[in-house]
C-alpha cells in the first residue's frame, strides 16, 4: 500500500504547487474563492497522504472467498512472527487478477491451487506435477511452495434430503434429472476446467444454469432457488448446511493442492517463513478453520487457531479493534473520493470553460463526459484494470472515480457560464477588462453557484461509488460490504454501508457550508 501511496503523492504535490503559482500570478482577491476551495479540499487529502512512510512490507493477496482470506491471514501472521512486516490485501478478486497483481509486483505472494495453476495460468488441459509447475512458473519470476497439505478440489453439492429423494449420488446421476436448477460462481462458469468441459464430459442435460456469487449461492441452495451448485471440498458451509458432495465418478476434477505462489525476488527469510507452512494443514483442519472464520466473522481469529499454542496471544496482539478498522476504511475512502474529486475539479472546470464556448469542441467535451457517465461503474473499473498503468490498485479506483466526477463539474461549469446574461458579458467587454480578468473576476464568480453545485454532486457520487473500489482491492468502506457479502453477514455489510451513507450526508452538508463561504454575497441575497 505504501508503494501505491508514494506514486499517488506526486500528482498531489504538483497540484499544490500549481495552485500556489496561480495565487502569485493572479494576485490578491482575484480568484481567492477558487483558491479557498482548493485549499480546503486539499487539506484532508494531505493529512491522509502524510500518514504513511515506512519500509515496504511484504504484501500478501487473497482471492474473494473464505479459505483464501484465512490462508492469506495465516501467511501474514507467520511472516509477522518471523519479524517480517507484512500486510494482507483481502479478497482482491479471482485468479487472473491475483496472478496479474503478483506478476506486476502489487503483491508478493498469494495462496493458489495446483489445478488452477495448470488450467488457468499455464493453460494446459493436462494434470501437471508440482515440479512441472515450478519449472513453468520460474519463467514468470514466480516460485511455489510445496503443498500445504490439503486438496481443495471443486465439487458439485446438493441438499442432502433432495439428493436422497432423487437418488443422486454421483455427478453422472444428474443426467436423469434435467429439471434441476444449477447455480454456479462466475469463475466456475468461465474456467477452462469449469462448467463447459464438465457438462461435455458427463453429457449433462440441464438448461437452467445461472451465475451467482459463491456465498449468496449457498443461501439460494438453502431456500431452494437452485438445486445444485459448485463448491470447494473444504467449504465449511457443506457441513454446516447439511449438503452432500456428488462423487466425481468420471474423475473430471484434478487435484487442487493448496500452495503459496510468491515472487522469486521476494526476500529469502520471507520465503523460508512461507515454506514453514508446507504440509501443516490437512482437509479436516482447513475445514475447521474455514468454519471458525465464518462463525466468528473474523479471519484473524481463525488464522490464529492455526498457530494453536500461540493462538490467544496472537489474536490479542494482531486483532484490530473496530474503531481502528473503521478509521482505516474511512480514511482510505476519503482518500479515494478526495483525490479523484480534486482531479475532477482541476480538469473539469477548464473543460467546462472550453465547453461553454460551444462549437465542435464544446459538444465533443460534453459528449465525452456524458458517455463516460453512462458506462456502469463496475464495467468502467473492469475496463481500466487491464491497462498497463492501472492494474489492481488504488490508482485504478481513483481514475474511475475521476472520470465519473467529471461530467457534473464540466456540465455545471459550462451551463453556469452560459447562463450569464448577454448584457453583463457585454458590459465586462465594453469596460475594457482583459479576457483573463473577465473570466476570473466576472464570469467564474457569477457561475460559482452552479460550479459548486456540480462539485457537490460529484463529491456525493464519488463517496458513494468509492465503495466499489474494494472490488479491485483498493480498500475503503466497500471492504466490509464486500466481505459481508461473501460471508452472507448483514452486520458486516452494515459496518461499511452505514458509514458510507453518513459520509455522503456529511459531504453534502460540508458543501452547503462551503456555498456560504465561496459564493459571493451579492449572489446569495
Amino acid at each position: 500500500m505504501d508503494r501505491i501511496r508514494k506514486i499517488e503523492n506526486k500528482p498531489y504535490i504538483s497540484t499544490n504547487q500549481e495552485s500556489k503559482n496561480q495565487s502569485l500570478k493572479f494576485g490578491s482577491g482575484a480568484m481567492s474563492w477558487l483558491l479557498d476551495f482548493l485549499l480546503i479540499s486539499c487539506v484532508p487529502a494531505f493529512l491522509i497522504f502524510s500518514a504513511s512512510a515506512f519500509a515496504q512490507p511484504v504484501m500478501i493477496g487473497s482471492k474473494k472467498f473464505t479459505e483464501s482470506y484465512v490462508l492469506g491471514e495465516i501467511a501474514k501472521q507467520v511472516l509477522t512472527n518471523a519479524g517480517i512486516r507484512a500486510e494482507h490485501r483481502q479478497g482482491m478478486g479471482g485468479t487472473i487478477i491475483l496472478w496479474q497483481a503478483l506478476r506486476g509486483g502489487q503483491i508478493d505472494a498469494y495462496p493458489e491451487y495446483t489445478g488452477t495453476i495448470a488450467q488457468e495460468i499455464l493453460k494446459t488441459d493436462r494434470a501437471l506435477s508440482l515440479t512441472e509447475i515450478r519449472d513453468a512458473l520460474a519463467k514468470f519470476g514466480v516460485g511455489t511452495t510445496e503443498s500445504l497439505g490439503f486438496n481443495n478440489t471443486y465439487a458439485l453439492v446438493m441438499r442432502r434430503g433432495e439428493a436422497q429423494r432423487l437418488g443422486v449420488h454421483t455427478i453422472s446421476d444428474l443426467r436423469n434429472h434435467p429439471e434441476l436448477k444449477i447455480g454456479l460462481t462466475h469463475e466456475f462458469l468461465d474456467r477452462h476446467d469449469g462448467w463447459q468441459p464438465l457438462r461435455e464430459r458427463y453429457g449433462l442435460p440441464q438448461e437452467n444454469v445461472i451465475g451467482i456469487d459463491h456465498a449468496l449461492g449457498y443461501a439460494a441452495l438453502g431456500n431452494g432457488s437452485i438445486d445444485v451448485k459448485d463448491a470447494y471440498s473444504t467449504d465449511a458451509k457443506i457441513v454446516e448446511n447439511d449438503l452432500i458432495v456428488l462423487e466425481d465418478d468420471l474423475e473430471f476434477f484434478q487435484n487442487y493442492d493448496a500452495v503459496f505462489l510468491f515472487r522469486l525476488s521476494l526476500r529469502q527469510d520471507a520465503v523460508a517463513a512461507l515454506r514453514h507452512l508446507e504440509g501443516t494443514l490437512n482437509e479436516k483442519r482447513m475445514t475447521t478453520l474455514n468454519a471458525e472464520a465464518e462463525r466468528t466473522k473474523n479471519y484473524t481469529t481463525a488464522a490464529g487457531l492455526y498457530f494453536e499454542t500461540a493462538a490467544r496471544s496472537a489474536t490479542a496482539t494482531s486483532g484490530e479493534s473496530f474503531t481502528h478498522k473503521l478509521l482505516r476504511w474511512t480514511l482510505r475512502h476519503l482518500q479515494l473520493a478526495g483525490v479523484s474529486l480534486v482531479l475532477a475539479v482541476l480538469i473539469g472546470i477548464p473543460l467546462g470553460i472550453l465547453a461553454s464556448r460551444g462549437g465542435a469542441v464544446g459538444h465533443t467535451i460534453l459528449g465525452f463526459a456524458g458517455v463516460v457517465q453512462t458506462i456502469p461503474s463496475l464495467a468502467l473499473l473492469a475496463l481500466l484494470v487491464p491497462l498497463p498503468f492501472f492494474g489492481i490498485s488504488a490508482r485504478t479506483a481513483i481514475a474511475a472515480l475521476f472520470l465519473y466526477g467529471l461530467l457534473p463539474i464540466v456540465r455545471n461549469t459550462a451551463s453556469g457560464l452560459q447562463d450569464i446574461p448577454r448584457s453583463l458579458r457585454e458590459s465586462s467587454i465594453a469596460l475594457g477588462l482583459s479576457p483573463a480578468t473577465q473570466l476570473w473576476q466576472i464570469y467564474l464568480p457569477m457561475a460559482s453557484r452552479s460550479i459548486l453545485s456540480g462539485i457537490k454532486t460529484s463529491a456525493v457520487i464519488n463517496v458513494g461509488t468509492a465503495t466499489l473500489a474494494a472490488l479491485i482491492g483498493a480498500g475503503g468502506l466497500g471492504e466490509p460490504i464486500l466481505s459481508g457479502l461473501n460471508l452472507n453477514d448483514h452486520v458486516t455489510i452494515l459496518e461499511g454501508a452505514i458509514p458510507a451513507a453518513l459520509l455522503a450526508l456529511i459531504v453534502q452538508w460540508l458543501f452547503d457550508l462551503l456555498d456560504r463561504v465561496l459564493i459571493p454575497k451579492g449572489l446569495r441575497l
Binding site: A430, G432, S434
Partner: protein, 253 residues
C-alpha cells in the same frame, strides 16, 4: 473642431437581417447626439459597433483620428463609457467594487480612486453610504447612477448611453433626466444617447438623428425634423409623439 467619432459607409448584417445599411455619421465633440427611432431601426447596433461589441461588415469607424481596429479596441474602450438599460452592474460586486473595477484593473492608486469616487458621488447625487450595497439592494434609479459612475470613472472622452432610463418609472426618470443633463453640461461631455422617446430626445439632443430600418432618415434639430421632414415617415414618427414634444418646445428648453 473635428468630430470625435466618424462613421463612413459602416454596415452590419446579422444572420437574419440587415441591421445597418451603409451609414455615415459624425459625433460632434462636447455635444449630445441622440439616436432615435422605432425598435430594430439599428440605433443600438450603431452604438455596439462603436464600442466594438460587433464588427462592421463594411466601412470604417474613426475615433479621435485613429481607425478602430481589433488591435486598438482594448485601449479605446478605456476612453469610452457605456451604460445600458439594465445597468449592466455585476451582481456579485458591491456598488463600490463595480465602479472601481476597471481602475483597479489598471492599478490606479488608492488615493486617486478615492478622490475620483467622491467626485462621482457628488456629481451623480449618489449617497456614499450606499456604496457598500450590492446591486440587488439598490433601487432602479440608484443602480443607473452607479452604472453612470462606473462609466465615468476613467473620465472617458465619449459616453455611450443605450436607453439608460428606459426601465425606470416616470418620477425617477424625470429626476435622472434633469441630473444627467446637468452632468453633461458640467463636464462638456461628448454623448451618444439612444432612446425611442421623442420627448427625451428633444430634451437632451443638440442634434437628433432619426433612424428607420437600418438607415439614417434625417438628422438635425427637432425644429428641422418637424418643419422640414425629409420623408413621410419623419412626420409620422414626430406626430405619433407630438403632444409631449410640443410641451418641451413650448417650455423653451
Amino acid at each position: 473642431m473635428s468630430a470625435l467619432v466618424e462613421l463612413v459607409g459602416v454596415s452590419k448584417r446579422y444572420s437574419d437581417a440587415q441591421a445597418l445599411q451603409p451609414t455615415n455619421l459624425s459625433v460632434a465633440r462636447g455635444k449630445t447626439t441622440v439616436l432615435i427611432g422605432p425598435s430594430g431601426c439599428g440605433k443600438s447596433t450603431l452604438l455596439r459597433l462603436i464600442i466594438g461589441l460587433v464588427e462592421p461588415d463594411s466601412g470604417t469607424i474613426t475615433f479621435d483620428g485613429s481607425e478602430v481596429i481589433a488591435g486598438n479596441i482594448g485601449l479605446l474602450r478605456r476612453r469610452i463609457g457605456y451604460v445600458i438599460q439594465e445597468g449592466g452592474l455585476f451582481p456579485h460586486l458591491t456598488a463600490h467594487a463595480n465602479v472601481l473595477l476597471m481602475a483597479r484593473h489598471l492599478g490606479k492608486s488608492h488615493s486617486e480612486m478615492r478622490t475620483r469616487l467622491m467626485e462621482l458621488c457628488e456629481l451623480t447625487r449618489f449617497y456614499g453610504n450606499l456604496l457598500e450595497r450590492y446591486p440587488i439592494e439598490l433601487s432602479g434609479g440608484q443602480r443607473q447612477r452607479v452604472s453612470l459612475m462606473r462609466a465615468l470613472m476613467l473620465s472617458p472622452e465619449l459616453l455611450l448611453l443605450d436607453e439608460p432610463l428606459g426601465a425606470l418609472d416616470p418620477l425617477v426618470r424625470a429626476a435622472l433626466q434633469k441630473d444627467l443633463k446637468e452632468i453633461f453640461m458640467r463636464l462638456r461631455q461628448t454623448v451618444l444617447f439612444v432612446t425611442h422617446d421623442l420627448a427625451e430626445a428633444t430634451y437632451f439632443g443638440d442634434e437628433i438623428v432619426l433612424m428607420n430600418e437600418g438607415r439614417i432618415v434625417q438628422q438635425g434639430s427637432i425644429v428641422d425634423l418637424r418643419e422640414r421632414p425629409a420623408s413621410p415617415f419623419v412626420s409620422e414618427f414626430i406626430n405619433a409623439q407630438r403632444g409631449v414634444a410640443d410641451l418641451w418646445i413650448a417650455s423653451g428648453k
